[in-house]
C-alpha cells in the first residue's frame, strides 16, 4: 500500500491529490479488502496447520473416495460404491427438489390465503387469518416433527396400506403411485405438447392485438387449457397409446415398482409449504393493500368484474410491491429445508454435512462446500427474482 497510486482525475486547482475524496475512497476500500483477505488467509492457514499438527486429514481428496453408505432417495443413480463427491450431488439435488417443489406450492397457497384474507366474506377471511396466525407462530421444526412423527408415522403399515383409487397406496412407508413408462412413439406426444404451447402463445398475442384494435376480449384461459391438454391427448391416441403404467406391488416387506414418495419428503414439504405460505400470504396481502383504493374504484367504473379487477388491475401493480419480500421467502424456504436432517430426509445437510462429514471427519472442507452451495442457491434465486421484478416493472408503466 506504500506505492501511492497516480491520480487519474484532473488535479483540482486547490488541494493535494490525497485530499481528493474519490482517491481516498478507493484507497480505503482497497485497504479494507486487503485486510479482509489477509484475515481470511490467516485463519484458514492457521486452522490447516493446526489440524495437520493434530493428525486431522485435510484437503479435498476424500471426494473421490468410495462413500460406502446408502441413501434413501436419489434423483441420480447412486450406490454405496459411489464416491463422497457423488453423495454431495445426491444431497444437493434432494435439497433443490424439496426447495423447488416447496416454492411452487407455497406460492400458490400464499397467494390464495393472502387474497382470501382480504375477502369480504367473513368466514373466508377469518379462516385465512387463523391459518396465518397459527402456522406463522409455531416454530418450523415443531411443525416438521408434527407432520412426520404425529401424522405420517401414525399411518398404517405397508401391508394395511390405505388404497387410493386401486393403484396408489399410502402407508407409514410413504406414498406409492403408478409410474408412467413411455414406449416408442411417445416423442410425438411431447412434440404435440410443445406445438400446443407455441399455438397458445400465438393465440394470446393475436388476442391482444385484436383487443387493441377492436376492444373486444376473447376468452383465453379455457381455450388454452383445452389446447394444452387436448392436442397431446389426440396425438397420444393416434400414436396408439405409447405408454403403460408400472403399478406398485406389495412384496415381502415393501411395495416395489411405481414411484415412491418417502414420508420424510412429504413431511418436510408440507411443513415448509404451510409455514412459508403464511409469510407469502402476508406479503401478498400487504402488496394488495398498498394499491390505492382509487384503482379499484376506477376498475369498477370501467365495469370490470371482480376477477378481472384482480387479474388486470390489482395484482400486476401489487406484484411490484410483492416481489422483493417474496424473494426473501423463497430464500428462507430453501435455507429452512436444511431442517430435513431432523427427520432424516436426505438433503445436502443431512447427507453431506451430516453422514459424509462424520465418516470422513473433514469438517472444514465440508462445511465450506455446504455454505457455498446455500450461498449460490440464494444468489441464483435472487438474481432470477430481480430479473423478473425488472420485467414486470416495465410492463406496469
Amino acid at each position: 500500500m506504500q506505492s501511492s497510486p497516480q491520480p487519474q482525475v484532473k488535479p483540482r486547482k486547490t488541494g493535494k491529490w490525497w485530499n481528493d475524496p474519490k482517491i481516498r475512497g478507493i484507497f480505503y476500500q482497497v485497504l479494507a479488502a486487503l485486510a479482509v483477505a489477509g484475515f481470511l488467509w490467516y485463519i484458514t492457514n492457521n486452522a490447516l496447520t493446526n489440524m495437520e499438527k493434530r493428525g486431522i486429514t485435510t484437503g479435498f481428496d476424500f471426494l473421490s473416495q468410495p462413500a460406502g453408505f446408502g441413501i434413501l432417495q436419489s434423483l441420480i443413480d447412486y450406490t454405496e460404491a459411489d464416491t463422497y463427491g457423488r453423495t454431495f450431488l445426491v444431497g444437493l439435488l434432494n435439497t433443490v427438489l424439496v426447495s423447488v417443489v416447496g416454492i411452487f406450492f407455497a406460492t400458490i397457497l400464499g397467494f390464495i390465503m393472502g387474497i382470501a384474507r382480504l375477502s369480504h366474506n367473513w368466514l373466508i377471511s377469518k379462516i385465512a387469518t387463523a391459518y396465518v396466525e397459527i402456522f406463522r407462530n409455531v416454530p418450523l421444526l415443531l411443525q416438521i416433527f408434527f407432520w412426520y412423527f404425529a401424522v405420517l408415522q401414525a399411518l398404517p403399515g405397508a401391508r394395511n396400506s390405505i388404497e387410493i383409487g386401486g393403484s396408489a397406496f399410502l402407508s407409514v412407508r410413504g406414498l406409492y403411485i403408478p409410474r408412467p413408462v413411455t414406449e416408442d412413439g411417445f416423442g410425438w406426444v411431447i412434440a404435440a405438447f410443445i406445438a400446443a404451447i407455441v399455438l397458445v402463445i400465438a393465440y394470446v398475442k393475436w388476442d391482444h392485438k385484436r383487443q387493441q384494435e377492436t376492444g373486444q376480449i376473447l376468452p383465453v384461459f379455457w381455450p388454452s387449457v383445452a389446447m394444452l391438454i387436448g392436442l397431446p391427448l389426440i396425438v397420444y391416441w393416434l400414436a396408439g397409446s405409447p405408454m403403460h403404467w408400472d403399478y406398485p406391488e406389495l412384496k415381502r416387506f415393501n411395495f416395489a415398482g411405481g414411484i415412491r414418495i418417502i414420508p420424510e419428503f412429504m413431511a418436510l414439504l408440507v411443513a415448509l409449504v404451510i409455514y412459508t405460505g403464511t409469510y407469502i400470504a402476508e406479503t401478498v396481502r400487504s402488496g394488495i393493500e398498498a394499491i390505492s383504493h382509487g384503482q379499484t374504484e376506477a376498475a369498477l367504473a370501467l365495469g370490470l368484474n371482480n376477477s378481472q379487477r384482480l387479474r388486470l388491475i390489482i395484482v400486476p401493480q401489487a406484484m411490484r410491491v410483492i416481489i422483493p419480500p417474496l424473494t426473501n421467502q423463497y430464500l428462507n424456504l430453501t435455507k429452512n429445508s436444511s431442517l430435513a436432517t431432523a427427520i432424516g430426509y436426505p438433503d445436502l445437510v443431512s447427507v453431506f454435512a451430516g453422514t459424509t462429514l462424520n465418516q470422513t471427519g473433514q469438517a472444514v472442507e465440508i462445511i465450506l462446500m455446504t455454505m457455498a452451495v446455500y450461498l449460490t442457491l440464494s444468489l441464483t434465486t435472487s438474481a432470477f427474482m430481480n430479473w423478473y421484478n425488472k420485467r414486470i416493472a416495465l410492463v406496469e408503466r
Binding site: 485463519i43 492457521n46 486452522a47 493446526n50 489440524m51 499438527k53 493434530r54 493428525g55 486431522i56 486429514t57 460406502g68 453408505f69 446408502g70 441413501i71 434413501l72 450406490t79 454405496e80 460404491a81 421444526l141 412423527f149 408415522q153 401414525a154 398404517p156 403399515g157 405397508a158 402407508s171 407409514v172 412407508r173 412384496k251 415381502r252 416387506f253 415393501n254 416395489a256 414420508p263 420424510e264 436444511s338 431442517l339 436432517t341 431432523a342 427427520i343 432424516g344 436426505p346 445437510v349 443431512s350 454435512a353 451430516g354 453422514t355 462429514l357 462424520n358 465418516q359 470422513t360 471427519g361 469438517a363 472444514v364 462445511i367
Partner: protein, 340 residues
C-alpha cells in the same frame, strides 16, 4: 436442534483449531484446574450411558468417565456429562468441548488415523446385529432383501449395513435418524422392518420398545465393534491416563481386587496388588497422578467385572453374558498389559 448443535460444534472446531495448538499435559492441567472431567456420552442408551429416574447418568461408559475422575481428582463424582449423538461426537472431542469421549464408539482405522483422535482401549467387544419384529417371521438376516432398515446417522452401522447387503446381493432402504430415540420410534411406527445397531445396543434399545417381547434379535453378527474411550491426539499424558484407568480396572478384576475388598487388599503381600494400589512403587507418579489413583478407581467405581455386571450384565435389565468380554483367563478376550 441437533443440526444446529453439530453445525455449531463444527464451526467451533474450526475456530478452536485456528486458535490453539495442543501441548502434552494440557488436558490434565485443565481438568485439575476446573475440578471435573468433561465427558462425552450418548443421548441415552440403557446400560451404556443413560440418565436414571433421578437424572443421574449411569452405564458402563459413564463408569469409565467416573474411573478417570477418581484417578485424576480422587472423586468419581467430579464428572460433567455432555450428551452427544453419533454425528456430533468427534467434532465435540476435536474442538475440546469434552476431555474424553466415552460413548459406545467403535475403534476403526479411519477414525484413529484421520480424525486426530486416539482410542484408549476397549470397554466392550461388540458386533453389529439386527432387530426385527416377531410377526415378520424372519429368522435370518439373509432373508432381509428389500427391507427398510432404521439406522443412526454417522455410525459404523451405516457402513457395515451397506457392505453386508451388497456382499449378499440384497437391496435395502436406509432410513436414517439422528438419535436412538428417533430410531426406536421409527421402528415402532413401522417406518422400517429392521433396526440395526451394535448387538449390545439392540438389547438396550429393545428395552425402550413399548412391548419388548414383540421383537427378536437375529443370530447374525456382521461386524467387529470394539467400543472404547477416545481422546484427542497430541496429548500423550492424558492418553496414558485414560488408557491406564481402564487397564487398572481390568487388572483389578484379574487380581481379584473389588470395591468391597480393596481396603483389605491394601495390606496384601502380592507385589502386583501392591503396585496396583500404590502401597509399593510409584506407578501413579509416572502417570502424573497420585499413587492411590487406582485404589480410588476401584474403591469408588469397582473393577471391570463389577462395572460390567452392574450396568449390562446380570445386575442390570440387559442381562448380557460376559462372552467375549470375559477376562482372557476365563475364555474371553479382555486383557490388560501388566501394571509394572
Amino acid at each position: 436442534m441437533s443440526k444446529f448443535k453439530s453445525l455449531v460444534t463444527a464451526v467451533a472446531a474450526v475456530g478452536f483449531m485456528a486458535s490453539t495448538a495442543a501441548h502434552a499435559g494440557a488436558t490434565l492441567d485443565a481438568v485439575k484446574k476446573k475440578g471435573f472431567v468433561q465427558c462425552g456420552v450418548s443421548t441415552g442408551l440403557p446400560g451404556f450411558s443413560n440418565p436414571d429416574e433421578k437424572g443421574n447418568w449411569v452405564g458402563i461408559d459413564v463408569d469409565v468417565c467416573k474411573g478417570i475422575a477418581a484417578a485424576v481428582l480422587g472423586d468419581a463424582s467430579k464428572v460433567k456429562y455432555v450428551p452427544l449423538n453419533a454425528k456430533e461426537r468427534f467434532t465435540a472431542l476435536q474442538s475440546g468441548e469434552v476431555d474424553v469421549l466415552s460413548r459406545n464408539t467403535t475403534w476403526t482405522l479411519t477414525r484413529d488415523a484421520s480424525l486426530g483422535l486416539n482410542f484408549a482401549g476397549v470397554t466392550y467387544y461388540d458386533g453389529q446385529g439386527f432387530l426385527v419384529s416377531k410377526d415378520l417371521g424372519v429368522s435370518s438376516a439373509k432373508e432381509l432383501d428389500g427391507a427398510a432398515v432404521c439406522i443412526q446417522a454417522g455410525t459404523t452401522t451405516e457402513l457395515n449395513l451397506a457392505d453386508y447387503f451388497r456382499q449378499n446381493g440384497m437391496k435395502y432402504q436406509p432410513v436414517v435418524f439422528d438419535t436412538s430415540d428417533q430410531t426406536v420410534k421409527g421402528f415402532e411406527a413401522g417406518r422400517c422392518d429392521v433396526l440395526t445397531s451394535d448387538q449390545s445396543q439392540l438389547y438396550a434399545l429393545r428395552l425402550k420398545l413399548s412391548n419388548p417381547s414383540k421383537a427378536v434379535i437375529l443370530p447374525e453378527v456382521i461386524s467387529k465393534e470394539p467400543l472404547g474411550p477416545v481422546v484427542r491426539q497430541g496429548d500423550d499424558e492424558w492418553f496414558n491416563i485414560v488408557k491406564w484407568s481402564l487397564f487398572a480396572q481390568i487388572n483389578a478384576e484379574e487380581m481379584g481386587v473389588t470395591s468391597a475388598n480393596v481396603d483389605k487388599m491394601k495390606s496384601s503381600n502380592n507385589p502386583n496388588i501392591q503396585r496396583l494400589l500404590g502401597t509399593a512403587g510409584e506407578m501413579g507418579k509416572l502417570l502424573g497422578l497420585s499413587n492411590d489413583w487406582a485404589y480410588n478407581i476401584i474403591k469408588q467405581v469397582g473393577n471391570y467385572g463389577e462395572m460390567f455386571e452392574r450396568n449390562v450384565g446380570q445386575g442390570s435389565a440387559l442381562k448380557i453374558q460376559r462372552g467375549l468380554n470375559a477376562l482372557w483367563t476365563q475364555g474371553g478376550i479382555q486383557y490388560a498389559p501388566p501394571l509394572r
